[in-house]
């Protein structure tokens, strides 16, 4: 039996999707996601027919589809298995497990098997590094805690084409282990309670409380939430829009996963409070494609809230307070976590970050004033509505108020979720999670900072070590060069390709790191890495490129020996091998004798073509 029930044909699928979304050109990304769920991939004729139906051109639609890593313009296996390629999961053996699976299935990575049954590849972190190695099946099912036994069973299920709903349910069990809860993770407020509190306060007073709280955005940049709302509220426009950024793509981060599952009411209350303050009627949750498995639960919750009068028309019985939320799925693009790229994606475009200003608060979704906040930020807003700004400002540090959730993974006894007030020392978190012989901690993911042992007394705070929530622990067994190399591969994989320094620079970095890993590096290569760091930091179009070298720079500065032991020479070594360059000529001429080589050793004899 198939992974999917016998699928619909192209015309039926297109008809279904158009009936669902209408001929809305801005729904393109959602339509492509839906079509692929039905058809497995996106054939060329389908793109042309879809383009015609929504008034766009085939080239435009192909350009959009080709932007997203999870949309396929070529056939893929009926079972599409994507290993989460996070450095933490690599250290837990994900590459070896993937090689084992490929061997068992007789499939090459990245290419569908001859019979079209299966393809195996990697993708960026899918937000399960606390229970990895993990993988994603057909973009809708996750398998956690992979080991050799599970891989062997999985290969058998695929070979027998067992439908996904008959796979062992416990494989997809995702545990949100909260080791330390504070305000956000420990709350048990009833749905709508925070929203009611905001309504009682009134819109102006609610905004004033937010100002008093000095809440800063939890997505990483730390922009003051009240200022963002204020700017949006003052921006003229026929309507205002509220967007929740649930595109938690920073490798090693999974706190939004837990909030979406455990505190979704606090999140939606927070969004509704924003709508109340801004006078917005429309809201979106931009849910990353990797979290597709959370979608049904989230939609059910929104439906419950509509039934309870907490969403939709006349919310909490208040005339004129109409606000509803649609969930938009991402399709595998880290850059869409950048708010203007996210809005482009919401509008059915390639997720290329916009030129700013204007900022989304002024001109966002369809040019309308739009507030975009992180999941954790909206949850925090709910608590501020309930308990007031002074209360929130009393937690944490002067410039970083409130609490922060950390996604702890890597070399520790108790990976999972830890919520602390801002100002908490790194050492405290390490102690609580049972980390021993810690060599380094990557705080805030690949775009964050790599801290070494002598910095463990520093504090989590915007004024010291800021973070979007990832906390990756590396003990003394780990090779920090390999960690940095994994991050370089990540950024090269996720660069949107729009601007020169990021598109080419991240690829140059990836290749340099591979050269060093192959033992062909020299001091000169390290100089080039530093040069690229400066260049990307100064000249890229958006923050993805600007932060792409952060971890690399930190590790090169703090763990220099990990790099230097890779060098062939401390001076210069050429990146190419003269003899290896001749291999094509040897293959073409069918020669492999001594005279066809520069170096003495003759390469393993190869039959002439």
């Amino acid at each position: 039996m198939n992974a999917r029930p016998a699928g619909p044909d192209i015309d039926t699928a297109l008809h279904t999707v158009l009936a669902r979304h209408g001929p809305d050109r801005h729904a393109l990304v959602q339509m492509l996601v839906d079509l692929q769920a039905m058809l497995g991939w996106l054939p060329r004729r389908l793109l042309a027919d879809l383009a015609a139906a929504i008034g766009r051109t085939p080239g435009d639609v192909e350009g959009v589809a080709g932007f997203y890593r999870f949309l396929h313009l070529q056939p893929v296996g009926r079972y599409r298995l994507l290993f989460s390629d996070n450095v933490i999961e690599r250290q837990q053996g994900s590459h070896e497990l993937m090689a084992r699976l490929c061997r068992q299935l007789g499939v090459a990575p990245g290419e569908p098997r001859g019979d079209g049954a299966v393809s195996v590849a990697t993708c960026s972190c899918i937000g399960l590094s606390d229970q990895g190695p993990s993988l994603l099946v057909n973009h809708r099912l996750v398998v956690t805690h992979l080991d050799e036994q599970r891989i062997d069973q999985l290969a058998s299920l695929v070979d027998h084409e067992v439908p996904l709903h008959d796979w062992p349910a416990d494989w997809s069990h995702v545990q949100d282990t909260v080791h330390r809860a504070d305000v956000l993770l420990g709350s048990t407020n009833a749905p709508g309670q925070a929203l009611q509190a905001a309504l009682t306060r009134g819109a102006d007073a609610m905004l004033a409380e937010l100002q008093t709280s000095r809440l800063r955005g939890r997505g990483g940049a730390g922009y003051p939430t009240a200022s963002k709302w204020q700017a949006c509220r003052q921006a003229p426009g026929p309507e205002h829009v509220v967007v929740c950024n649930a595109d938690e793509g920073e490798p090693g981060t999974f706190k939004d996963r837990a909030l979406l599952r455990r505190q979704a009411d606090a999140l939606v209350d927070g969004m509704a409070i924003a709508a109340f303050v801004l006078g917005a009627r429309r809201g979106f949750i931009y849910l990353r494609g990797e979290y597709r498995w959370l979608l049904d639960e989230l939609l059910a919750l929104l439906q419950q809230r509509r039934a309870a009068g907490l969403l939709g028309a006349r919310i909490l019985g208040r005339a004129g307070f109409d606000f509803d939320i649609a969930v938009h799925l991402g399709a595998g693009a880290y850059v869409c976590g950048e708010e203007s790229a996210l809005i482009e994606s919401l509008q059915g475009e390639r997720g290329t970050p916009r030129i700013r200003p204007p900022f989304p608060a002024e001109k966002g979704y369809l040019g309308l004033p739009t507030v975009v906040n992180n999941v954790e930020t909206f949850c925090a807003v709910s608590h501020i509505a309930l308990h007031g700004g002074d209360w929130w400002a009393g937690i944490g540090t002067p410039q970083s108020t409130g609490t922060k959730i950390h996604s702890v993974s890597g070399d520790c006894e108790r990976p999972g979720l830890y919520e602390y007030p801002f100002g908490t020392r790194i050492a405290r978190i390490l102690e609580d999670c049972g980390a021993r012989h810690t060599q380094a901690v990557q705080v805030g993911g690949p775009s964050g900072q790599c801290l070494s042992e002598f910095e463990f007394n520093r504090r989590i705070a915007f004024e010291d070590v800021p973070t979007a929530g990832a906390f990756m622990v590396f003990d003394r067994r780990r090779d920090l060069f390999e960690v940095a190399r994994g991050f370089a591969q990540f950024f090269a994989h996720e660069s949107c390709g729009f601007c020169t320094p990021c598109r080419v620079g991240t690829e140059l970095l990836r290749r340099r790191m591979d050269k060093l890993a192959a033992g062909a590096g020299s001091r000169h290569d390290l100089d080039v890495l530093f040069e690229l760091d400066h260049l990307l930091h100064a000249t890229t179009h958006c923050g993805l490129g600007a932060t792409a070298c952060n971890a690399l720079r930190d590790t090169m500065q703090k763990f220099r020996p990990a790099f230097e032991r890779r060098l062939q020479s401390l001076h210069f070594a050429p990146g190419f091998d003269l003899d290896a360059e001749l291999s094509v000529a040897r293959r073409l001429t069918g020669r492999n004798d001594e005279a066809a080589h520069f170096a003495q050793p003759v390469e393993a004899s190869r039959p002439p073509p």
């Binding site: 729009f498 601007c499 020169t500 320094p501 598109r503 080419v504 991240t506 690829e507 140059l508």
Partner: protein, 235 residues
């Protein structure tokens, strides 16, 4: 009332509110290196060759609004080095063999690189495999030289009203998409006189049977450095 002014390399230049630094400088007859920007089109901000210092911040001149008293630095050691690196990146990611290129002498990338003092690729070349599209009777698409400035796509959509080109793919595999049923140029509605067919700053979109109509050595940038060549004669 006096027009407002900003400072470019210490010189006072007037601007009209709403203009970017690059627009205002160009209008005042000053040259800021650029590839993806073209008079009459909204800024794209992708090539980053127009990177300047505004105060202490590094910004793209094409996307930065001019404002009263703004201090813009075009040349210093770091900026010149950065500009060279950006240009070198564009060279190594594609296949650029100037001596055999039909556009040599009228290629903005080549001319800008000469003006920036580039003597070699510096980075390792990627040598990508990019098949050409020779399907059209009058036009040739030489993708090896594409720098993804998007000018052809913008010109086609906003000026020609056709949308013959679009940007596709992502990351280092980003590429130009031809909007036609087959994906080939012959099946598109492009015409050789379209602005889209004439705006390419490098040598991707070429007219067939016109090769070397002007001998090398007598072309625009053979005669003048790009900094003093008139913008309207450029491709």
């Amino acid at each position: 009332m006096n027009r407002p002014h900003f400072l470019l390399g210490g010189d006072e230049l007037p601007f009209t509110p709403g203009e970017t630094v690059l627009e205002a400088a160009t209008r005042a007859g000053r040259y800021i290196p650029h590839l993806c920007w073209h008079e009459g089109f909204a800024p794209h901000g992708s090539c980053r060759v127009c990177t300047v210092k505004v105060g202490t911040r590094t910004m793209a001149a094409c996307t930065t609004a001019a404002s009263e008293g703004l201090e813009v630095t075009l040349h210093d050691e770091a900026l010149d080095a950065q500009r060279r690196s950006l240009l070198q990146m564009l060279f190594v990611e594609g296949n650029h063999f100037c001596p055999s290129c039909e556009q040599s002498g009228r290629c903005k990338l080549q001319a800008t690189a000469y003006a920036a003092g580039i003597e070699g690729p510096h980075f390792e070349e990627f040598y990508p495999d990019r098949p050409i599209d020779a399907s059209h009777a009058d036009l040739l698409l030489e993708f090896n030289r594409c720098i993804l400035c998007g000018l052809c796509a913008r010109a086609s959509e906003q000026y020609d009203g056709k949308a013959v080109f679009a940007l596709g793919g992502h990351g280092i595999a980003s590429h130009l998409v031809v909007n036609s049923a087959s994906g080939r140029l012959v099946d598109s509605d492009i015409h050789p006189d379209d602005l889209a067919a004439n705006i390419c700053p490098v040598g991707v979109i070429l007219k067939k049977r016109r090769g070397f109509d002007v001998p090398i050595g007598q072309r625009l940038y053979d005669r003048l450095p790009i900094s003093s060549a008139p913008e309207d004669e450029a491709p």
